[in-house]
Amino acid sequence: MLTEADAWRALAGVPDPEIPVISVCELGIVREVRTSGESVTVVVTPTYSGCPATEVIAQSIRAALSDAGAREVTVETRLAPAWTTDWIDPAASQRLKSCGIVPPQARASAGVQPIRVIPRPLPCPRCGSSHTVRLAEFGSTACKALWRCEDCREPFEYFKPL
């Protein structure tokens, strides 16, 4: 017999495959967990359409819940409401910073932003300098932009508001 609390506890130990310092729960993609006897249904809202981690995440969820004693695990996809970076746990945002990723600096905007050739500088997550430049709108994953600090010369990533 697996309770919903047991299932949530197991899921809290499933890291995001691209950003392992945060769990899939902290990322805000696990929307609902239902248990019935020894079977569990997990409702997941995917991040970007092109995120290659989506299938790995479903596998990791199944594995973690099986390890916790679930006999049958169903992972359901729910598209609406669409995932937003506003759902990222604030404590996890701080952890992102400590591993060199600047968390979203604003809440996701519903409107269209003007096109900026030179965006407003972000604070470097390593040295704090605001003497930073954007290298590309898309970094190692679709959810992050690639930046560089002109003072400490280190590259860093920015988790874009979505």
């Binding site: 970007y48 359409s49 995120c51 609406a80 096109i115 590309a136 679709a142 690639l146």
Partner: protein, 249 residues
């Protein structure tokens, strides 16, 4: 084929084919950062296409899934607009094409987020957020290269001259659009022209580029009549499933 399925194929095929074109840059872009950016955008477009084609296959009810629709249809059954199948050309032409199409797509997704087709509305509500970043990416390159050196300006003007005539197709009225609008499942693409121009023209102006004079040319990809480039693209994209039917890995 019902108008609703046909309407979905126009969207699913256009995102798929642009995604396929952009992925050709993987390993070839001028700088590593842009290589990664173009590949990420291609992944988003193909991801959007997968959702739309899956939904189209379900509505069609003949048991075709996303893979069968993408890999086993012949050229004349594809409903993508011709613009997206045109060869990439240089980096400037590639970002110009992305800018013109992705701005249209952003407006389309925004409108479809309130579709009476719940599945389509969910896909649109999610995709519009991604499209905003695609437009940002392409738009800032259009400005940077257009308002850049003589060389980059010349290439961007040539790109605009070559691609602009193909944008007329986006807004060509069709019976499919009308049928889908009447059920509330979609909107007529022609109705997006004003919003598209309001977004595109100021960027082209900032890029110091001149919009070509209107012409009577009308490409017909969304009706299944494609350019000579489409067959070559499909030959590569569909090769594996054609050679090894049902192959998985």
């Amino acid at each position: 084929m019902t108008p609703q399925v046909e309407y979905l194929l126009r969207i699913g095929d256009s995102t798929l084919i642009l995604g396929q074109r952009l992925s050709e840059w993987c390993g070839h872009a001028p700088v590593l950062e842009e290589d990664i950016a173009l590949a990420n955008i291609a992944l988003d477009l193909i991801g959007q296409s997968r959702l739309v084609l899956t939904h189209a296959g379900e509505l069609e009810g003949e048991g075709r899934d996303e893979d069968q629709l993408a890999f086993l249809r012949p050229e004349n059954q594809f409903r993508n607009v011709t613009l997206v199948e045109l060869p990439n050309g240089d980096f400037g032409r590639t970002v110009m094409k992305s800018f013109l199409f992705c701005t249209f797509l952003r407006e389309l997704w925004a409108a479809l987020a309130s579709s009476t087709d719940g599945a389509l509305a969910a896909i649109a509500g999610k995709s519009v957020k991604e499209s905003r970043y695609h437009v940002q990416h392409a738009g800032q390159w259009v400005i940077r290269l257009g308002d850049g050196t003589d060389e980059s300006h010349g290439r961007m003007q040539a790109a605009l001259d070559a691609l602009w005539p193909y944008t007329a197709e986006l807004f060509a009225p069709t019976a499919v659009d009308e049928a889908v609008r009447s059920t509330g499942a979609g909107i007529e693409w022609a109705s997006l022209r004003g919003a598209w121009e309001a977004a595109v023209l100021p960027v082209l102006r900032d890029a110091t580029l001149e919009v070509p004079a209107p012409s009577t040319f009308l490409s017909r990809g969304k009706f299944g009549v494609h350019s000579e480039h489409m067959g070559h693209l499909l030959t590569e994209m569909q090769y594996l499933q054609r050679a090894y039917p049902g192959a998985t890995w």
